[in-house]
Symmetry: C2
Subunit: 463 residues, 2 copies
């Protein structure tokens, strides 16, 4: 987030010339360290430029969103659009997204004296690595904090209800989507399968952030949505395995899918068990250390380990971060830990949501392109199925008490980055042609943007 240390690399740049901005050749350039210093300066300028724009745009559009009554996260997504691949192209994070804009390269060149190729490599290399890491840190800490704040007893209590919503929310859009794509649009089976799989996703990051922004995360509905989103993530991974297996082999081994489900179940069960037997002991141990921030540091270590364990056994690592939060919830230091996480969440989670926007290519909306036109029609169909399917899933909730089923269904609507991964993976197998890929991306964008106003309206009606 900051320029790297001056003293880790040669220090001098203002050299023989009196002109501040024409610092080449500097003393160090002639001393053989100049190349390193020019590189370090270009790196510092490129990274600062990128992160400063991320934060300034996020603050600006987050502020606008809040002032017009929308969740802040939408402003951050818009900020991402504006500085990412669809906008001024300074935040170019996708694998196929091309280089950053010339103006950014020229600006870095002006202040560093480095050459264009090097600067482009810096943006495509270390800057991208760092921004992606900040984003990963952001969503990891966010899910950790949501785990900390979650009421485990409540989550277990709503578990069956959440499961009913999650399963219905997977089956309904998948079946309707697959049927429509094959029967109405006459798509081949493989691309239809991927598009239908993308319909099943729920973005746990976006959903929980929206609910946090609205202050409804801790309601009964909020906890059901949270539980269902977590289960949906696990189901999504299993479905993805099926889709890829069919795409590649025409079939899939049941054992591999069962293996994923088994690992996931074991992981969730372990987290619940560890909350009682490990969480309080670990916190007590940390609180007994002399460092005032031992609890925070120890929690971060635990979170990182849980994230990587989840990844190793084939789950998403944010599920590991969430589990880490669950395990450390409800201890004597949990409240203080939540507070200590706040600055990290504020900084890094912003980067995460901006990067989601930045990676979303809105140029697919170009209507002069025939593929776009076809994509638009399919997108309309997918979007309707996506929204109706999840809302209907809310009404499939198995519950004796009175809960706001419309709110629960609405909370499951945003596909966010998970839907984009489905599209990306499908494209990687070669199964998805341009039109259907465009359609999936559009569906993801619309569901992500329509969910916050929907949720606001639904929860407001209830109150």
């Amino acid at each position: 987030m900051f320029p790297s240390l001056a003293f880790l690399t040669p220090l001098l740049s203002h050299g023989i010339s009196h002109d501040l901005w024409s610092s080449l050749p500097s003393l160090l350039a002639t001393a053989g360290g100049g190349e390193g210093e020019t590189y370090a300066k270009a790196f510092a300028v490129a990274l600062t430029l990128t992160t400063v724009l991320v934060f300034v745009f996020a603050q600006l559009f987050g502020e606008i969103a809040v002032r017009i009554g929308l969740p802040e996260v939408l402003g951050e997504l818009v900020a991402g659009f504006l500085i990412g691949v669809s906008g001024i192209q300074i935040l170019m994070l996708g694998n196929e997204g091309g280089p950053v804009a010339d103006w950014a390269v020229n600006l870095v060149q002006l202040f560093s004296g480095s050459d264009v190729t090097t600067i482009q490599e810096i943006f495509a290399g270390p800057v991208k690595i760092l921004v992606n890491d900040y984003a990963a840190t952001g969503v990891g800490v966010l899910l950790f904090k949501i785990g900390l704040e979650a009421d485990l007893k409540e989550l277990i209590k709503v578990g069956p209800q959440a499961a009913s919503v999650a399963i219905a929310g997977v089956v309904l859009p998948m079946v309707a989507g697959f049927w429509g794509l094959t029967a109405v649009f006459h798509l081949p089976i493989i691309p239809a399968l991927f598009a239908a799989a993308a319909l099943t996703a729920t973005s746990i990051g976006i959903t929980s952030r929206i609910m946090q922004d609205m202050g409804v995360l801790k309601t009964r509905e909020g906890q059901i949505i949270l539980g269902a989103a977590v289960l949906d993530d696990i189901l999504g991974i299993a479905i993805l395995a099926v889709a890829i297996g069919v795409a590649e082999h025409g079939s899939v081994e049941a054992s591999s899918v069962l293996g994923i489900v088994f690992n996931a179940a074991l992981f969730v069960a372990s987290a619940i068990a560890l909350n009682k037997i490990f969480g309080p002991r670990y916190i007590n141990f940390l609180a007994g250390l002399k460092n005032r921030y031992s609890v925070l540091v120890g929690a971060i270590v635990f979170l990182a380990l849980m994230g990587v364990i989840a990844r190793i056994i084939g789950l998403e690592d944010i599920l590991g971060c969430f589990a880490a939060g669950i395990i450390l919830s409800d201890t004597k230091a949990t409240k203080a830990l939540e507070k200590a996480c706040d600055p990290l969440v504020a900084l890094f989670t912003t980067v995460f949501f901006v990067t989601i926007g930045a990676k979303t290519d809105l140029t697919v909306l170009n209507l002069a392109n025939p593929e776009s036109q076809m994509g638009l029609v399919i997108a309309l169909f997918l979007t309707v199925v996506a929204i109706v399917g999840k809302v209907a899933a809310g009404y499939c909730l198995v519950s004796k008490e009175k809960v706001n089923r419309l709110a629960i269904g609405s909370g499951m609507v945003p596909r966010g980055e998970v839907g984009l991964v489905f599209a990306g993976l499908g494209a990687a197998t070669g199964a998805l042609t341009g039109a259907i890929n465009v359609a999936i991306v559009l569906m993801v964008i619309v569901t992500t943007f329509v969910a916050p106003p929907m949720l606001r309206w639904v929860f407001a009606r209830q109150a």
Copy 2:
């Protein structure tokens, strides 16, 4: 700090095989996304392994340090020794430090299924970039916070006193060192110049952190040491320019050195002016935004900009971070901002001090090597000059009031990373042979380790 996002890269890793740890070939491997997933998993495991060891070792040895009455930062440096180039070699950050240890590579391979070459590249590439960035963030935030906490009026008041200490602390060790190395040890002029230049440094990061650990940063003596360390940093950059100029051309243009001093003076003066006219207005603006963390985010943006501006005009970027703190000090939100920075400081500053330890090559202590033996004798001389020179500088303090001059001199003793940069730069010009390089590194280590007990003893005697 966390494994990168599962959904930014293909998700699946547990594939057809039932064996959790032999996840190749996975479904995704056959789907063409396997290489990406294996890489992503290896990256996540390598990064987690590295950062977890950094934090666990830092906590452990920080705890031991505090329990035996030493500042925590010493424990963090020791942690760095143990996991860095001198120890188990998992944290290999130096440019010439060779690859990470085989056990680490094998561990990553076990959990990711990636190949040895790729894993080594991951450690030497992205993991190194990230850890260096965390470290840079750490020292940046630390200096920012010290700037926030600094009493600007007091700093200006002690300015002349600090200047007298800084100048004496540069001149005395430099002259004594240069004379001894040339007259007694018959070293050529160039290496003697670099070694003497390394004697002038003061590690602002280590000095301020030690004083913070001891709770004496805000005493009159603490503020004089802080002011002198900042001025010392600026003088150090100018001296380095001279040394490099002489090494390369046999002479140096006065204009370039004057340019650095002029820029530095302008920079410091601007910061002082901006504290009144810009700081409170900026904070008020930020506090008026809807986001609860706007002040923190805005401060971080400002800090990053100040860091890069300092770097662009040829100063150390941590001076920019310090100036940013000074500018935002003494506003209505400063206290809250300090608090919000605490978790960032706790996490990232730890990484910084561990990396200093990790980069320090203690194998230079090998006495079977004749160069080491010669180096040891010179090191002894340099260390004595380094300590006596700075302590004497404390007594050169121009002041009418009664202050603890011994404490001030002792506070200037640690050379830390700044001294290592001098050695590294000298080596880069080809001027420093093995023995003298070894000697400088040893002097840096000893002064860094001897300062905390010295300071503790001196301040305790006063109280």
